[in-house]
Amino acid sequence: MNPRRALGRLMMAIAETPAIGVAIACMLLVASLGLAYHNEGQARADKIRDVTVQSRILAASLAGPLAFNDQTAIHEYIDALRASPEFNAVGAYDENGRLVDGFSRAGEPLPQHNQVDRPIVQGDELIVTGTVAQNGATLGSVYVGAATERWSRRATRYLGIAIVIVMACLLVAALTASYASVSAANRRLQAEIAGREEAEEALRQAQKMEAMGQLTGGVAHDFNNLLMVASSGMELLDRTTDPVRRERLKDGIRQAIERGAKLTQQLLTFARRSPLSPEVVEVDQRIRALQDLLERSLREDVKVEFEFANGLWPIEVDPSQFDVAILNIAINARDAMPEGGRIKIAAHNYPAGGDTARDMVRVSIRDSGGGIAPELMEKVFEPFFTTKSVGSGTGLGLSQVYGFMRSSGGLVKIESVVRRGTTVFLMFTRSSQTLPRPNLMTDRLRHAEHDATVLVAEDDEHVAELVAEMLRELGYKSKRGATAAETLRLLEETGPFDLVLSDMIMPGKINGLELAQEVVRREPGMPVVLMTGYSEAAASAAAEGFPLLVKPYTIEAMGEVLGHALQQ
C-alpha cells in the first residue's frame, strides 16, 4: 500500500477515536505533575539557600561577640531574628558546642549541644546549622530552625492550578470526543454521498439504456424505409436503361442515404458522441445561408424573417450542428402553426453583466403558433418527447438542440404563451478568435495524379473496397491489410508507402491507435491518418495528434485530409 495513504488512513482512524484526546489529557496531567514536583524541589532549594544565607550572616555577626563572650551583643543579634516569624528557633553556641544564647518559639526547646551538619527538614521545620569562624579559626556555631510552608497551605496553593489543569484536560477530552464523532459522521456522510452518486450514475445509465431501446425501435422504422428506397432504387437501376429515369433513381438513393446519415448524426449528437468540430462562425451569415434550406423545409404559408444586429460577435460552434439546431427549431415552429404564420429569427449581442458572466450572442427563433402548455414545458427537451402524431416526429429535435448547446458551452431557453407563440433562445459564448480566411474551394478536390501509395488497415471487407475505390478516384494507389499485424508486415515487406490510413477499431491485439504509434516508431515521419465513427476513439486520436477522418465521410473530406497529411 502507498505509505502516504496508509498514513492518511491512520490519521483518520486516530481522528475518529477519542484516544488522542485522552492521551493529550494524560500528557497534560503528567507534565503538570512533573512541573509541580520540580517547582516544589526548586522552592525547597530556594528556602534552604535563604535560611543558609541568614545563618551565615548571623554566624559572621556573632564571630566577635562569641569570641569575646559579649552576651549583650549576642543577645541583640539573636533577638533581631526573633522579629521574623519565619524563624522558629535560633541558637548561638560556643566553640565547644555549648549553648550560649538563643530562643525557641512554641515547640521543642533548643538543643543544649549543637553539632554542625547539613540542612535537614524535620516535619514542618528546616534546620540549618553553621560554623562561626574567623580567618579559619572556629569560634562557635549557630542553629537556625525556620518554618517551612505548611502542607495544607501548599496544597491550597496547588489546588487552584490543579483545578485549571483538570478543567483543561476535560475540555481536551470533550473536544476530541466531539471531533471524533463529527469526523466519523463526516466519513459516513462521504460514504453515503459516494453511494448516492453511484446510484445516480447507475440510474442515468439505465435511463440511457432505456432511451437507446426506444431509439432502436423508433429509428429502425425510419431506417427501414430509407433502406427500402435505396435497395429498390438499386434494383430498378439495374433494370432500366432510360438515362432520365436512372438519374431520378440515383437522386432518390442519394437522398435516402443523406437522410440516413443525418439521422445518425442527430442521434450521435443527442448521445453526445459525435465529435464536434467547432469553428469560428458568424451567426448572421450562417443563418442567411440556411435560407434556401429553411424555405424548402417549411411550407409555403410560413414566412421567414431575419433581424440581425450590426457588429455581431463571432461564436465558436460546430457549423453543421448549428444548422441542424436552427432547422430543428424552425421545423418545430412550422408544426406549431398548422394554419401558417411567421417565423422570426433574430440575433443580438448580449454583453456580460446581469444574468450572464460572459459576453454572449443571443439567437432567438419566434413563431406565432399555438404555444406550449406550461405543464409540458419541462418535458420538451427530453428525448423522444413529442406532441406530434406518431410517424411525423421523432422527439429528437429539441434533444439535439439541447445536446448541441450543452456541448458548445451555451444555454437554451424557451418562452411560450399559449395561443400567442413560442420563442426559443440560444445563448452562445462570444469567441475570442477571429474569423478564418475562407479556403479556396477549388483546391480542395483535385483529381490530380498523386503517384502516392496508401497502405490501408481496415478489417471490414466492404468498407475496405469502398475506401480503395475512393482512393483510386482521388488518384492514389492503395494496398490493404486486414489486421494491424498484417498491415505492419506489409509495411516491412512491400513498401515503400507514402501514407498509412487505418481504422481505429480493429480485431486483434493491436488497435488502430497502437498501430499508428507503432508505424511512427518504425518509420518516423510517415504520415498516418485514422478513421473512426466513435467520438471516444476520435478524442484519443486527437490527443495523440493524428489527423482523423470521421465516418461517414465524403470523398472530398478524404481528399482534403490525405492531401494535408501528405503535404506535412
Binding site: 566577635g64 569570641a67 569575646f68 551583643a73 574567623q134 580567618n135 579559619g136 569560634l139
Partner: protein, 173 residues
Amino acid sequence: MAHIRLSAALLALLAAAGGGPARGAQPIEYAVKASYLYKFAPFVQWPSTAFETPTAPLSICIAGSDPFGPALAEAVRGQRVNGHPIMVRHVEAVRPGLACQILFVGGEDAGQTLQAVAHEPVLTVTDHSGAGGMIQFVMVAGRVRFSINQAAAQNSGIAISSKLLGLAVSVNR
C-alpha cells in the same frame, strides 16, 4: 594545690613588675584573658612580612612573668588561624627581631618595654589601661573587656577587624 601555685606565680609577677597590680585579681580573670589573647588572632591582619611562610606558626609571646600558666598553651593546642598553627613562647626580654605576632607584656609600665618592637608588625597586648600597647585589657563591671589603640596598630602595619573594634570598650583612632 593549683591555687597555691597560681598565687606563687602572681607573687613572682609582682616581684618582676615592682608593684602590686594583680592584687585581688581572680584566677578566672586570667583564664578569660588567656582565651581572649589567642582569639584576637583571627580578627587581626598582619602584613605579609610578619610570617616567613604561609604555614609558619603564629607566635604568642609572653614577656617576663607568665600570669596564664599552662591554661594558654592548653587552649591554643591544635588551633590554626589562616593556616598558621598557634604557638606560645616565653621571652625574657623584649628586643627587636623576636619574631612574635602577639606580644603580651604584663605590668603597668609595659609601654617602655614595648618601644623595642614599636616598628615591627607585632600586636602588643598589655594588662592595664594606660599601660600602652595596641590592646589593653580593662575590667568593666567585673568583666574582662579591652580597649584598642588603632593608631598604634596602623603604624606597625597591623589591621584590626571592625568586628573586634566594635567590641572594644574604647578605640583610640
